[in-house]
Symmetry: C2
Subunit: 501 residues, 2 copies
């Protein structure tokens, strides 16, 4: 059994190395690759992915897992080897149940659909993408049906990103959340708009980058095991527990972009850097789900990074970096600007309060389309109607309506959006649990100290990597299920004070 376990680990490390190599190539493509490298790079990345996939679906790996199953079952659930076998089996089954022929067909369609969308969106031409989106829906159903036995057809697709979450329970959770967030948004947006002019001045790039570096270092991002580079869209990527990089972008006329996206990505990165190094290169390395990953980026960006206490410490430093721009600006004015709530069209630009409404309508439409209760051709009208009901404004067109996100036009319909809101919800739960364990955390944040919070998150979440599913993590940490109460409580407290509700 020892020998089989060794063989399993050797095989998995090889797959991990191929995937990590692919990640390095992807990072390079986004950061430094000259334009002439593009055609070969696409081919090289595809080759690495194909080899990793071949090694993952190798029947010999399946036999090893079968042979090791009794061994794993004889060990405690959280034993490292048992967890490795359990998580690998999940990955193996996910990879082997989908025929390569289907994958090829799906990928070919996705590439085509993406090209059509990229041209049709600026032209606001939904009719152009309609047949592609209809085919995407068919293919998404076909994909789900390779995993029979589901309660809801979206469940297998949700499993890809947020393993263990179910359409039915997420739907209930979101309905509840919507019922309580829509009135909050209405209450806030019926007031006078917050003034964010103090962060909409000219802030030179180099100073912004330098300050952001200082901030993420202070919250615990380890530059010995990471670095920051500039890209068109910010992202976090891990090549190893010892090499977790973030990227950023700068708007010189808006301080919020670089600053908060850096803290957001640093949150993702703290999660990856905090994984137990003994999982390095194995299926246990990394974040356990899209939702838990987002819980960390949003926790650090919003709950910590946009809190008043955080800026009690950092605002004087920020004023030293931008003395002209921030002369006479009060901490309160800055805090209010950093938390401005407004009804807007674009999800990725949305503030903390309205953001979930953007996400939840997409999730509902994914379910409805998969169920057949919403025809793809009726999506634009449904979008406008629901958007008005939730956010109080009507999108003037489809390009900034149902065509705004790349997701459905370059992948499947189903399972791709719920993680954003689950992240907000779980982030508040985790923070709440950390506060119960360490009530001094807010005071420490006011002094620029983040160790207690960081260590608690490492101990309870980060170090486990993919060992526990998201529902298991929530259970272990809070003793209960995913719940919106801490999140609602957090929002009401913070925005109640900001907007005197």
């Amino acid at each position: 059994m020892e020998k089989k376990l060794e063989e399993l680990k050797t095989r998995l490390l090889e797959i991990g190395d191929l995937n990590s190599a692919g990640a390095v190539l992807a990072w390079d493509q986004m950061t430094y690759m000259p334009p002439g490298g593009a055609p070969a790079r696409g081919r090289q990345m595809a080759s690495l992915a194909k080899l990793a996939q071949e090694k993952l679906i190798d029947p010999a790996l399946g036999r090893l897992l079968d042979d090791l199953q009794p061994y794993a079952e004889g060990m405690p659930y959280d034993d490292d080897d048992a967890s490795l076998i359990r998580v690998t089996r999940r990955d193996f089954e996910r990879a082997t149940k989908v025929p390569p022929e289907f994958l090829a067909r799906f990928n070919a369609h996705s590439s085509e659909a993406y090209m059509v969308w990229a041209a049709a969106r600026p032209a606001n031409d939904f009719a152009k993408v309609l047949p592609y989106l209809e085919k995407t829906l068919d293919l998404s159903r076909e994909l789900a049906n390779y995993f029979p036995g589901y309660e809801h057809i979206a469940d297998p697709l949700i499993d890809f990103a947020d393993y263990g979450m179910k359409a039915a329970s997420v739907r209930t959770l979101f309905a509840d959340l919507r019922a309580r967030q829509v009135p909050l948004v209405q209450a806030i947006t019926s007031q006078e708009e917050a003034d964010d002019s103090c962060i909409r001045k000219h802030f030179p790039e180099q100073e912004q980058l330098k300050f952001c570096e200082e901030v993420v270092r202070q919250i615990g991002y380890d530059f010995e095991r990471g670095r920051i580079d500039k890209t068109h869209h910010p992202f976090t990527i891990a090549f190893a527990v010892g090499d977790v990089r973030i990227t950023t972008r700068v708007q010189e006329e808006f301080l919020g972009e670089c600053l908060f996206s850096n803290i957001h990505e640093a949150g993702h990165a703290l999660y990856e850097q905090g994984c137990d190094p003994k999982y390095d290169g194995t299926p246990l390395q990394g974040g356990t789900s899209a939702g838990v990953h987002e819980s960390q980026s949003r926790l650090w960006e919003n709950v910590v990074g946009r809190s008043r206490g955080f800026w009690e410490f950092f605002f004087p430093k920020l004023q030293q970096v931008f003395p002209e721009q921030l002369k006479g600006v009060s901490l309160e004015a800055f805090h209010r600007a950093a938390n401005k709530v407004e009804r807007s069209l674009i999800r990725t630009d949305a503030d903390e309060v309205t953001y979930n409404l953007h996400v939840m309508l997409r999730f509902e439409f994914e379910l409805a389309m998969l169920e057949g209760s919403l025809a793809v051709r009726d999506l634009p009208a449904a979008w406008r109607e629901r958007f008005k009901a939730d956010l109080g404004i009507e999108p003037p067109d489809d390009k900034d309506g149902c065509m705004q996100d790349i997701h459905w036009y370059a992948g499947n319909i189903g399972g791709v959006f719920q993680g954003y809101t689950l992240g907000n919800v779980m982030g508040a739960q985790f923070f709440d649990a950390a506060l119960q364990a360490h009530p001094g955390i807010p005071d420490e944040i006011r002094q620029g100290k983040f160790d207690t919070l960081h260590n608690w998150l490492k101990e309870n979440i980060y170090r486990h990597g993919r060992k526990f599913t998201a529902p298991e993590l929530v259970q272990n940490v809070t003793g209960g299920e995913v719940s919106i109460e801490p999140y609602i409580k957090y929002l009401r407290a913070k925005y109640g004070e900001l907007y005197q509700l």
Copy 2:
């Protein structure tokens, strides 16, 4: 046959992609990787190399090559497919003749030897490395003996880097070259030392980098298909014909370092960028030998980049960048400084005239050690004696004597040094041939025009990639064999004028 050829190409592209991915990881390791990435990176690169090797020695690849042999033999020698089959067979045999068990043993020894050397060199402790070097010699002989039928035991080792060159002919060539270079060095170094103080001032890094970028762009390095980054040691690396990167370093107190190493690396890069794109990712992509590669770096660095005509164009521009530092410096003074000849201990710092003497003594010692006519323990004394005879100075210690280069301490003995001098020799031959075809080239260089030379090199050398061996290329281009005459003629003309010999 068509189908088999297709299968061969598919397999080769996959191997090429793994190797290119490994190169990207190596580049990243040298440029941007944070320290914490090191352990995983070593493992990832080893995994990629192992997979590429496994795919290269796959018996199915050998059967394909066997099946395709009659097809290749029915085609002209320079046919693309025939050449692909021929060059692949060479790589395949090289890879399959060496048992994996030996490779593992050799690599383990090399790692250990390198560690010992890295510690022993600063301590000037040859006794420490002696047993390792003796074992390296044994292993190098064992390696050579996997390729029986050689004339000289060094021949198989020379084939690894400079395929088609033979110890006997290189030895004759070098003996001839030495006989004519030693007196030249003596004649020059018996004169008053050239004054290079004009390039030993303070030249700020950013300005140096900007100027160097301008120079390499002007000679033809394509930034759409490449980029320059900083590393500890400069190098050139290709991930594809469309992505050939160079690296550089700067000494702020010495202008020569960044400037000429940039032109040197750009020479390597022009070769790689000039390869026919249809060979991209196949065994035909890249430079055909260490010597031909070096011929291009040295041709551009020395024959072009240190020529008077080159600086007629660039020196006024350089003066604009460094007006204070170069005020009152004449073109002649600068040209002389850039071509200062001196007796020095370290090969990598040596000037154009003395450089080959450093290389040739290493080559002779490699042969002598392999033959058994020089015991490893006698190397330090032999080094001092020969160094004094050739360069007129005696190394005061071993650390800057026979312990100065990493090569023998991290690889095999034999076949690793000849390329540097063959490069100088062939570079002069190629330049001579280009001049015969286009006598206007020197005038164009004086006007900062490099197209005629660059295009001639592309047409006659670069585009062929690995299709022709070095001796074949020389034959095709010059109608004869490798010859030192153009090189000697070049040295005499240039240094005769500089030093009024």
